[in-house]
């Protein structure tokens, strides 16, 4: 459409603003489109006082609930209400003042006081000379979109709350597990202090170390973000430092060669208990009668996880004798639980080598 057409259209449209000529409306295709479209539209005349509506199409009247005579001649601000964002109103006002187009969402009010969201597209219409003639405003009802957003927000909020409850619960349970393990350990410590028989006391301390190994697993597990991955290397570092330290001996050297080997939390307790037995056994049997020595632990992770614990001590007691201890049978059963291959090689005066192979 060229400028001459546009000004003719404008003239014709202007002719309609007062009395509507039904005949004229029928023969003008633009007018017919504007009348029948579902898109609410108004035209305002900034050359008149307070920029009043000079044309509103039926879709606009349907959306707002007003009659034509109630909107014609009024400034569009009657659609606004207390809930309309003042900043948005100011932006529209500024666009009108500057004769710029603007696209903005506004909360508007119907005649009956109910509210709706509208996506306002406001465009100034300038004559060829550059003088401002009209504002053309198309307003799409976007209430549904806002309703969905609010619904989504409410759902998110409910989920966040549910998550917070679950998180609190997990922390609570974690706290109780740790506290209970701590209490079990404390009971064993306190009880063992009153036992005069050294071998009974030693058995109690074996149990203490098993419980403490469980405690270390839980501490390590919950220090990780997911609480479901367990790094054998971290555990070995804690375990060996603690068990060697607890012997009170400074003549036992420790050599650690630890690659990170992450296993699922399911297996962590069995691995921890097994390693506790291996290291405890070595510390108990390898360096007796003040014999100094070295305990070396190697963790290597490939398609399988390979853990080797070695010492240069006097070697394990005879196999038959060893098999009968609780510690030995615990090791065998833990290895079975893990589906792990456990081999113990021991030679007198050459120390012991324990190898544990876990599928990754």
């Amino acid at each position: 459409m060229d400028n001459a057409d546009a000004s003719r259209l404008a003239e014709r449209t202007r002719a309609e603003f007062g009395e509507i000529d039904p005949l004229f409306g029928e023969i003008d295709p633009f007018s017919a489109i504007i009348r029948t479209t579902q898109l609410p539209m108004v035209v305002t005349d900034p050359r008149r006082h307070d920029n009043p509506i000079v044309f509103a199409n039926p879709a606009f009247l349907r959306m707002t609930g007003y009659e034509r005579f109630e909107v014609t001649g009024r400034n569009c601000r009657f659609l606004q209400g207390p809930g309309t964002c003042p900043k948005s109103i100011a932006r529209v006002r500024e666009a009108v003042r500057a004769e710029r187009s603007i696209e903005i969402d506004l909360l508007n009010y119907r005649k009956d006081g109910s509210t709706f969201y509208t996506a306002l597209h406001l465009n100034p219409v300038h004559a060829k000379s550059g003088t401002l003639q009209f504002y053309f405003a198309a307003q799409l009802d976007v209430t549904e979109r806002y309703r969905l957003i609010r619904e989504r927000e409410a759902e998110n909020e409910a989920l966040q709350e549910a998550l917070a409850v679950k998180t609190t619960l997990i922390h609570e349970i974690d706290h109780r597990v740790k506290n209970n393990l701590q209490m079990i350990a404390a009971m064993i410590v306190l009880q063992s202090q009153r036992i005069p028989d050294p071998s009974t006391r030693a058995s109690m301390l074996d149990t203490l170390q098993r419980v403490e190994a469980l405690g270390t697993v839980h501490r390590r597990l919950h220090q990780s973000e997911s609480a479901s991955r367990f790094d054998i290397a971290d555990f070995v570092r804690d375990l060996v430092a603690d068990l060697v330290g607890a012997t009170g001996r400074s003549d036992i050297r420790v050599e650690l060669d630890l690659a990170s080997a992450v296993i699922h939390a399911d297996k962590s307790v069995a691995v921890a208990l097994l390693l506790n037995e291996i290291v405890t056994n070595i510390l108990k049997h390898a360096f007796t009668e003040g014999r100094p020595g070295t305990i070396a632990v190697q963790v290597a992770a490939g398609s399988e996880i390979r853990i080797v614990v070695e010492d240069d001590g006097i070697g394990m007691p005879e196999a038959a004798e060893a098999r009968s201890t609780f510690g030995q049978s615990l090791m065998g059963t833990l290895a079975r639980q893990l589906g792990a291959r456990l081999t113990v090689a021991s030679a007198p005066r050459k120390g012991t080598r324990v190898e544990l192979i876990l599928s990754g």
């Binding site: 506290n179 701590q182 404390a186 919950h222 570092r237």
Partner: protein
Amino acid sequence: MMDQRSLRVFLVEDEAILLMQLEALVTAAGHEVVATAMSGEEAIRTAETLDADLAFVDLRLCDGETGFRVGRCLARDAGIPVIFVTANDRRVLGGAERGAEIDGSFGGALGVIAKPYTLHGLQTALAFLEEALIAPPPSSAPPPGLLIAPHVAQRWRRAS
């Protein structure tokens, strides 16, 4: 700093059996348990007239999450070094859950021992603290079970 060989220790723990173990351990190491408290309220009341060199404070006590308040009261008001004992060490270390109040500064505490601790871990922590408080700076790094507040650790490093 202190003209003495042993520490006067204040214990705040609401679990009877853990309190008993701590008492036994502190005493066995040659230190003196000057007072014990089994709730935050009791701890704060006791702190008013307390003469101690070190306090072990369980973070979660029977009257709620009052350990931090006890710690603040002891560390800032009474000037007693505090070691928090907690099964929720991420709260102290991360601080994200509880806000800036405890973030980074360890809630004014000297250090943290994470539960579950081992008997040996607690013994070495106590031995380290004995040296650190009686004849600072300590000659060795803190044991693995004891986390020292960064600003204190830095001060010790500079002094040594």
